[in-house]
């Protein structure tokens, strides 16, 4: 469970998040949508403890991300939007490095299982520097989910992935237990996997509802997005 309470984040004069609050419950897939620069990635980075914020509080399964940072981060798996990794390590070395830092002593089978599922197992012994965008994404996805985190934060998870891997990842998200938060522009992905959708614009939440309710009201998530935006004259 992730609770974001009145969080404000500014970059100089630009307000990325303006006093926003979320309550991401257990066993649900939450999608966050919004225009470019709306604050989606910023929110995810704040929830993982990567980015400091100006005001508010974030708790992960009851642990404060600032005061109990280590405990909070134990409960999280995170996939960034543009995963830069150590280019001179091989994919296998990188994943075992992450597993070591997470103290996962039995990670070998789990890594084998996930890399096979997303189709990167044949390239694990090549240096990451020679990987394509999609291959890097696959390694990063593996590092985010290898420890079965209770809370999974994914920033554009299917970006750069081939259709087969994209479907495998969507199935994984739908079937997993725990909280999954996805920041994405893909309305198709939201309709496929999400239970609840939040629409953020200029650092504020302008809409939050169940995906099924919005689809029955507007016809699709894409239509929901356009009509909500038009209604606000943004």
């Amino acid at each position: 469970m992730i609770i974001v309470n009145n969080v404000t984040k500014t970059y100089g004069k630009i307000v990325a998040l303006n006093n926003v609050s979320f309550n991401f419950n257990n066993s649900s897939v939450i999608a966050i949508m919004g225009e470019n620069g709306a604050g989606k990635s910023t929110l995810l980075k704040i929830c993982t403890g990567i980015l400091p914020f100006d005001k508010g509080q974030v708790t992960i399964d009851g642990f404060d991300i600032v005061k109990d940072s280590i405990k909070a981060r134990e409960q999280i798996g995170y996939l960034p939007e543009m995963p830069d990794m150590y280019e001179r390590l091989t994919g296998r070395e990188f994943l075992f490095y992450i597993a070591s830092l997470r103290k996962l002593n039995d990670a070998e089978d789990r890594i084998g299982e996930i890399t096979k599922m997303i189709g990167i197992n044949d390239f694990l012994d090549y240096e990451i520097g020679s990987y394509s965008k999609g291959m890097k994404q696959k390694i990063s996805v593996t590092s985010a989910i290898m420890h079965n985190p209770k809370n999974l934060l994914l920033d554009e998870p299917v970006y750069g992935l081939d259709p087969l891997t994209s479907r495998a990842l969507q199935d994984f998200i739908k079937n997993r237990k725990g909280t999954t938060v996805i920041a994405t522009h893909s309305t198709q992905l939201v309709e496929q996997v999400a239970d609840i959708v939040y629409l953020i614009m200029r650092g504020r939440i302008i809409l939050s509802d169940k995906v099924s309710t919005l689809v029955s009201r507007y016809g699709s998530i894409e239509e929901t997005y356009f009509q909500t935006k038009d209604g606000l004259n943004v």
Binding site: N5, N6, K45, T48, G49, I50, L51, P52, F53, D54, K55, G56, Q57, D64, V66, K67, I70, K71, R73, E74, I76, Y78, P80, D84, M85, Y86, R88, L89, T90, R92, E93, F96, Y97, I98, A99, S100, L101, R102, K103, L104, N105, A107, E108, D125, Y126, E127, G129, S130, S143
Partner: protein
């Protein structure tokens, strides 16, 4: 017209301004260091012109030093701005000829080289004039300027062809460099400028073969080394793997050996080479100790300060990996710094090689001073590396840290001299100093982890 040149220059200038704003202290210090160096070089020139010495620094030596600095700079700049630059894909995909785009990038690099050359050389000449040294040498200045242009052309050609699948294209430039080495006169370099321009143009024409060069390196044999480790060991293994694969550990050992031989040689013969016979009795005495000091200093700079800074400065885009994992800041710092233990081992060859010249009676002191300097290097570098984590301004920071370390080691040597005069058994003091230094190292690492924590601390948590 010259859109790509303008874009590259604007991008590089804005990047420099951003760095200036992000780390003003560092850049003010760097500016101070540059001015200080220019004054020192001018003073050295004044000294060499007015004092009779066996040291013979000719115009050719200075010319080739300047030449190789600009040569190496151009190789690196063209690689960064063209060969590995993703940004260039936008320019390369327009209707403008790709050769022209590559040429415009070369122009941007050349323009930067010339700006640096003119600004630094004019500052130097101005300082010389303050010392009342005649600076009216227009022909020599023209030679140097043409030398810089030649170096830029050759640097560009080498940079392009080094990453080309057709390595034989490097051959003309290697022959040219060999020719310079053989004749060792600036005029021969300047005469070959047309050849360098032709080869540079030909290389630029074929530069697309090197663009975004990458080799898919398979490491199946190293699979057996991959396993789950403790946090500190995992970080140690990651850092040292990168050092190993970048071949830095080899270069550390090589530097230790060559510095040992070179400083050992100067320890024995330095005063004969540098000091006139008439002055040798009065001022020659301090030179052997100075060369021991400088030898250790160079080794520590390269094997401790350089990797210690890069442990953090290189984490520009990868810091998210560690930040989202449940690890304490202390552990991050300790894990990374543990990799320096292996780097220390690469300094050991320095001792036997310098001892060939100094004899073995100084072995104990040398070993102690090497250990002391190495730890001092870490104490100074790690907090500054953490402070500027991801800033990538490593050369500037390296320069500033080198000056701080020089001061620290200089003070320690003076202190040791005083101790040796007043106490019969200074070994106890040596051990006490090391013991005290380890305490300072501990606090330095603690302080570094606090700085790391501060960088990611929210300002007003409820």
């Amino acid at each position: 017209m010259f859109e790509t040149t303008k874009i590259v220059l604007t991008e590089n200038t804005r990047s420099l301004i951003k760095k200036l704003k992000d780390a003003p202290f560092l850049y003010v210090m760097f500016l101070g260091m540059i001015l200080f160096s220019i004054v020192i070089f001018s003073f050295a020139a004044y000294f060499l012109m007015n004092i009779e010495t066996n040291l013979d620094i000719s115009l050719e030596d200075v010319f080739f030093t300047v030449f190789f600095i600009f040569f190496l700079k151009t190789v690196a700049d063209f690689y960064n701005n063209f060969t590995k630059s993703q940004l260039v894909t936008y320019s390369l995909s327009t209707q403008v000829s790709q050769k022209r785009t590559a040429f415009e990038i070369f122009l941007a690099v050349l323009f930067t080289d010339l700006i640096i050359w003119f600004s630094f050389s004019l500052m130097f000449l101005f300082t010389l004039s303050v010392f009342r040294i005649n600076i009216n040498y227009p022909f020599e200045y023209l030679l140097f300027t043409l030398g810089v242009i030649t170096a830029s052309c050759i640097g560009c050609a080498v940079s392009v062809n080094f990453f080309s699948p057709k390595k034989y294209r490097l051959l003309p430039m290697l022959i040219l460099l060999g020719f310079y080495f053989y004749f060792s006169h600036p005029i021969y370099v300047v005469f070959t400028l047309p050849l360098a321009i032709i080869h540079c143009g030909w290389s630029i024409k074929n530069s697309m073969e090197s663009y975004l060069f990458s080799k898919r390196k398979e490491r199946t044999k190293e699979r057996s080394l991959v396993k789950i480790r403790s946090i500190i060991k995992a970080q140690f293994h990651r850092e040292t793997t990168v050092l190993w694969r970048d071949k830095l550990l080899f270069s550390f050992v090589f530097t230790s050996i060559t510095t040992g031989l070179f400083s050992g040689y100067l320890f024995l013969y330095g005063d004969e080479i540098l000091i006139p016979e008439s002055l040798r009795q009065t001022i020659g005495g301090f030179l052997p100790s100075m060369f021991l000091f400088l030898g250790v200093y160079v080794v520590v700079m390269y094997t401790a300060v350089f990797p210690a800074l890069n442990l953090f400065l290189n984490e520009e885009k990868t810091m998210w990996i560690i930040r989202c994992l449940p690890i304490k800041n202390d552990t991050v710092v300790y894990g990374k710094v543990s990799a320096l233990a292996l780097c220390f081992l690469t300094t050991i060859p320095f001792i036997p090689y310098i001892s060939i010249f100094t004899g073995f009676d100084k072995l104990g002191f040398l070993l102690w001073f090497l250990v002391f300097s190495y730890i001092a290097g870490i104490i100074v570098s790690v907090p500054l590396g953490v402070k500027y984590v991801g800033k990538k301004s490593d050369i500037l920071l390296l320069y500033s840290v080198s000056m701080i370390l020089f001061l620290v080691l200089g003070l320690m040597v003076s202190f040791i001299n005083i101790i040796e005069r007043f106490f019969d058994y200074p070994i106890i003091f040596y051990l006490l100093i090391l013991f005290f230094e380890i305490f300072i190292l501990y606090f330095s690492l603690k302080f570094s982890s606090q700085i790391l924590a501060l960088k990611y601390k929210s300002t007003y948590p409820l």
